[in-house]
């Protein structure tokens, strides 16, 4: 299948070909890819694409998977409304 037609990150609409192009430009770590292309930065927070990105880096650069650092995971694991956080904070007061 053509890499242009393989969607890696659904939230930010990043294809496998986009990753290949970035690898060729010299962006070789997950953290760099995230910042240039928003891969893994959408509502799912890389819960869908994270492992695939890590795997593609490993394959492309012929490295063992364990030598490819996963991206730095930050809160939250799922989206929460600001209003809900505010109400919860006020309930505790």
């Amino acid at each position: 299948m053509d890499a242009k037609n393989i969607i890696i990150c659904r939230c930010s609409d990043v294809t496998l070909q986009d990753l290949y192009d970035l690898f060729e430009e010299g962006y070789t770590t997950f953290e760099e890819l995230k910042r240039i292309k928003r891969v893994g930065m959408g509502p799912c927070q890389a819960n869908t694409c994270g492992k695939m990105v890590q795997w593609e880096i490993a394959k492309y650069f012929n490295k063992p998977l364990e030598d490819v650092p996963f991206h730095n995971m930050r809160p939250f694991t799922m989206g929460v409304k600001l209003k809900a956080i505010k109400e919860a904070a006020e309930d505790e007061e």
């Binding site: 070789t28 760099e32 930065m41 959408g42 927070q45 209003k83 956080i85 505010k86 904070a89 006020e90």
Partner: protein
């Protein structure tokens, strides 16, 4: 990034590949300087640049900040073409709406606008009704009045830095990421070498653009820089349809909040109880206070889902204005630090001025107000108060 072998010698070593380091590298190379190396501990924009609120503002309270910001905006307006960038720097000029919450703040802002106008910045004072026309979901019950500058706006920190990086690389600058500076050796009056975990580079010129770690780099050469670092937290929501043009900011209510061209809202605030240091972790306290503040000032934003929060370092100087210049006691040691939370938006001028100084040219602006020596046993002349 694929790293080559570190060279044994360089004419200039820049420490830090945030926006400041990349701008300095580009400006030096563009004026003909050869043999420039940029050393970065992690990756491009891994420090304060990549953690900032992506705002570009000219509405400041001090002359130096106003001029630096205005001239930087003039560069950003043409940056895509000047740097011949193939990506998108996402510069959006839809203004900053600065909220005054009370009489006292409104009076200070009137003074600020006078200063800004005298320097050619097109800001103006608005009633709260006029402010609501620009941001219809503004809760005017908690607004006294506002100021607005239509040429302020948003800029993507990652792609803007990438644009400088690529332009600098084309001019021959070499970047070494994932490389840590461990120490710097010097004689009585000159720098000898920069020692990293990947090898040693002999050089007589070092530029300290280390952001949150600028003080520590200064300590390596016995130059005391009166700055400290402090965590400022920030969050981002899911992307939604466009609903807000300008950045909305309030110093008294402690909030900045804007919608990026991509659709997500970015918002942040400071914490006066935050300890000094290099911690950039995320807290519940921030989340609680941020959601209370934003739902009060901009109620419909409460319906949006937060997808991520993080922290980044403000490198604070005593007067909240940057230190851009050389160290008198050590020729060859230059610094661009102490930006106090607004280094990203000033980077074009940081790069231009410091490169002119390094190359022995007459700087485009007088630099006394930015010199390290302004703090030598002297009282603060002019304090920047417009900081979140």
């Amino acid at each position: 990034m694929k790293n080559k072998t570190l060279p044994k010698q360089a004419d200039v070593v820049i420490i830090g590949a945030g926006i400041s380091g990349c701008s300095i590298a580009y400006n030096l190379a563009k004026q003909g300087q050869k043999n420039i190396i940029v050393i970065e501990r992690d990756y491009l924009t891994s420090g304060a640049t990549g953690r900032c609120g992506a705002g570009v503002r000219q509405q400041w309270a001090t002359k130096a900040n106003c001029i630096l910001a205005k001239k930087s905006v003039e560069f950003f307006e043409n940056a895509q073409a000047i740097l011949d960038y193939d990506g998108d720097i996402e510069f959006k000029q839809e203004g900053y709406l600065v909220i005054a919450s009370n009489d006292q703040e409104a009076k200070q802002f009137e003074k600020n606008v006078k200063l800004q106008n005298s320097l050619g910045i097109p800001s103006r004072v608005l009633t709260k009704e006029e402010a609501k026309e620009i941001v219809p979901h503004l809760n005017t019950d908690v607004v006294h009045s506002a100021t607005f500058c239509k040429t302020d706006g948003h800029l993507n920190p990652f792609t803007m830095t990438d644009a400088y990086y690529k332009a600098a690389k084309r001019l021959g600058v070499e970047f070494f990421t994932y490389t840590t500076v461990e120490r710097i050796t010097r004689d009585a009056d000159r720098i000898k070498a920069v020692h990293t975990d990947k090898g040693t580079i002999e050089t007589s010129i070092v530029v300290n653009a280390a952001g949150g770690w600028a003080k520590e780099i200064g300590t390596m050469v016995d130059v005391e820089i009166p700055v400290f670092s402090e965590n400022h937290e920030i969050l981002v929501t899911e992307p939604v349809e466009k609903m807000q043009g300008p950045m909305v900011i309030s110093f008294s209510q402690n909030i900045y909040c804007q919608q990026t061209p991509h659709g997500a809202f970015i918002m942040g605030r400071g914490d006066k109880d935050m300890p000094k240091g290099h911690d950039v972790s995320s807290s519940w306290k921030f989340l609680d206070e941020m959601s209370k503040t934003v739902t009060r000032l901009l109620p419909p934003i409460g319906e949006l889902r937060v997808i991520r929060q993080w922290g980044g370092l403000y490198n604070m100087s005593p007067d909240h204005q940057p230190i851009i210049g050389g160290a008198k006691q050590l020729p060859g040691f230059y610094m661009a630090c102490g930006f106090s939370g607004h280094g990203f938006m000033l980077a074009p001028m940081t790069g231009l001025l410091l490169s002119e100084l390094i190359l022995g040219k007459e700087p485009s602006l007088p630099m006394e107000d930015m010199a390290l020596e302004r703090f030598d046993g002297k009282a603060i002349r002019e304090l920047e108060t417009s900081v979140v």
